[in-house]
């Protein structure tokens, strides 16, 4: 069970990093399929 609540700014920084990275991963997956179709 999580017992430490991070400060708001740190929470936002974590979320921003994670969402950017997830977007990059999704883009790479789509790009691979797109290259395959060319």
């Amino acid at each position: 069970m999580r017992t430490t609540k991070l400060p708001e700014s740190q929470q936002r920084a974590v979320l921003r990093t994670a969402l950017w990275l997830a977007a990059v991963a999704c883009a790479l997956f789509v790009y691979t399929l797109w290259r395959g179709m060319k």
Binding site: M1, R2, T3, T4, K5, L6, P7, Q10, A13, V14, T17, A18, L21, A22, V24, A25, C26, L28, F29, V30, Y31, T32, L33, R35, G36, M37
Partner: protein, 519 residues
């Protein structure tokens, strides 16, 4: 910082299903990896038992092919990668002074995808037509023609890929956002650095593998012809896409091992790591180069000469940063006050044997030589020196090193040393003769062979059983340490440095609730 700290957590199975604690999740990963090591190891022993003599004795060729394919998939995705993720979960927050991973619920999900993925993968053995049998590289056309087991494999790879990408996102978000005040990037322990770079590699290449196997799936069932020459597709394109994932994957399997060795060697040499910054830059260089060498796995497909030369020279360049690392480890030991506890023995064996694997890799990088070595046992010997005496020896070294921190007890040193010597002798007996088999022309992935290869194969099989069964000693050591033994102090090793050695052993359920200040 608002904190409400209490150590209560559910007990029994519910604790492990619902946990978001990095130490619990680290333990889950490590136990899972150990189980998979034995599953993949059992498959290896089926292979070696069949190869003890020429001719077919124990298994049918189709089952043999399933064993070679699944052995690789289980060891890579089930044993080595989860083991390193287990170390990451346990150690990264402790090493950077963070209370937990940045995304604890995501962390739970990343782990719990794995048992389902591997149940799916291994259950493919029981469907009509059996499991995947075309090799772990899943090259078409074999993988397009394979049984339903191949579909199970594709879906299992998707699940493992999602798990790895989520794990990588968590590691990066943790390291970039959760470091204790004063822990600037160039003060981070090498293990944290190697994992940061590994996580970027994972994030860059797992989606590419997912794309490749998705195209395989649509070729199999939805009428596409990505890899079917008769429909305008190209089977060689699969090899390019696969190895664009596959070569960085090799570094995903070895960079955290470099990190572990870089923690252990200074501890038992009682000296700071030689060339810390050059180690960081060498790791980053290796990661960069790993993206521009993929076609050295496919020199024999018929590439233009300019392409072959480019990939040959680019591959050889990797020897430079790798050489920097090996030099730095040796220089760390030079004139150190060395002692040879089990983690150090495994770390030294790692440096020596991994280097042998590196040299045979250089031999394979030479295009005209590779035309001779390609698809022979020389390649099998090469990558086992890199991945067994490289990755797995480092994992074992790390387990011995941090076991006192995890369990609060020192392990049995005598049993540890027995485990080391049996492993190192068994390993070399298994894989060193395979160099000669390959040079003499024995192809890989075959259940039968010509008579002249018999003697080396017999040595290899004896070594494999010795190596395999000696791992039971490792289990005995771990279980004994978990259940009791000599109490370990906060700093379990005299020469150990770093934040993880400032907290008691075993590490409390919650650590660094208030971040430490790094000077």
């Amino acid at each position: 910082m608002a904190t409400a700290h209490h150590d209560e957590h559910p007990t029994g199975v519910l604790r492990w299903l619902t946990t978001t604690n990095h130490k619990d999740i680290g333990t889950l990963y490590l136990v899972f990896a150990l189980i998979m090591l034995f599953v993949g190891g059992a498959m290896a022993l089926v292979i070696r038992a069949e190869l003890f003599q020429p001719g077919l004795q124990i298994v049918q060729p189709h089952f043999f092919n399933q064993m070679t394919t699944l052995h690789a998939l289980v060891m890579i995705f089930g044993a080595v990668m989860p083991a390193f993720t287990g170390f990451a979960n346990w150690q990264i927050p402790l090493m950077i002074g963070a209370p937990d991973m940045a995304l604890p619920r995501l962390n739970n999900w990343s782990f719990w995808l794995l048992p389902f993925a591997f149940t799916l993968l291994l259950s493919s053995l029981f469907v009509p037509g059996g499991g995947p049998a075309g090799g772990w590289t899943l090259y078409p056309p074999l993988s397009v023609q394979g049984s339903m087991g191949t579909d199970f494999t594709i879906l299992a790879i998707h699940m493992m890929g999602i798990s790895s990408v989520l794990g990588a996102i968590n590691v990066i978000a943790t390291i970039l956002n959760m470091r204790a005040p004063g822990m600037v990037l160039l003060k981070m322990p090498l293990f944290v650095w190697t994992w940061l770079i590994t996580a970027f590699l994972l994030l860059a290449v797992m989606p590419v593998l997912a794309g490749a196997v998705t195209m395989l799936l649509t070729d199999r069932h939805f009428g596409t012809h990505f890899f079917d020459a008769s429909g305008g597709g190209d089977p060689v394109m699969f090899q390019h896409v696969f190895w664009f994932f596959g070569h960085p994957e090799v570094y995903i399997l070895i960079l955290p091992a470099f990190g572990i060795a870089s923690q252990i060697i200074p501890t038992f040499a009682r000296k700071p790591l030689f060339g810390y910054e050059s180690m960081v830059y060498a790791t980053a260089s290796i990661a960069f180069l790993s993206f521009i060498v993929w076609a050295h796995h496919m020199f024999t497909v018929g590439m233009p000469l300019a392409g072959e030369l480019f990939f040959m020279y680019a591959t050889m360049m990797i020897a430079v940063p790798t050489g920097v690392k090996v030099f730095n480890w040796v220089a760390t030991m030079w004139k150190g006050s060395l002692s040879f506890e089990t983690p150090m023995l495994f770390a030294i064996a790692f440096v020596m044997l991994f280097t042998i694997g590196g040299f045979s890799g250089l031999m394979l990088a030479i295009v005209p030589a590779d035309f001779q070595y390609h698809d022979t046992y020389f390649v099998v010997a090469h990558f086992h020196y890199v991945l067994v005496s490289g990755a797995i020896f480092a994992i074992i070294a790390g387990a011995y090193y941090w076991l006192p921190k995890w369990t609060g007890h020192m392990y049995n040193e005598t049993l540890g040393k027995w485990h080391f010597w049996l492993s190192v002798i068994g390993f070399n007996l298994t894989f060193f003769p395979q160099h000669f088999l390959g040079l003499a022309g024995m192809p890989r992935r075959i259940p039968d062979y010509a008579l002249q290869f018999t003697e080396f194969n017999q040595w290899s099989t004896v070594g494999a059983f010795m190596f395999g069964f000696s791992q039971l000693l490792f289990v005995a050591v771990v279980v004994k340490a978990a259940r009791g033994g000599k109490k370990a102090g906060a700093r379990a090793w005299e020469g150990a440095e770093g934040l993880e050695w400032t907290v008691p052993s075993p590490a409390p359920y919650h650590t660094f609730v208030t971040p430490p200040h790094i000077k």
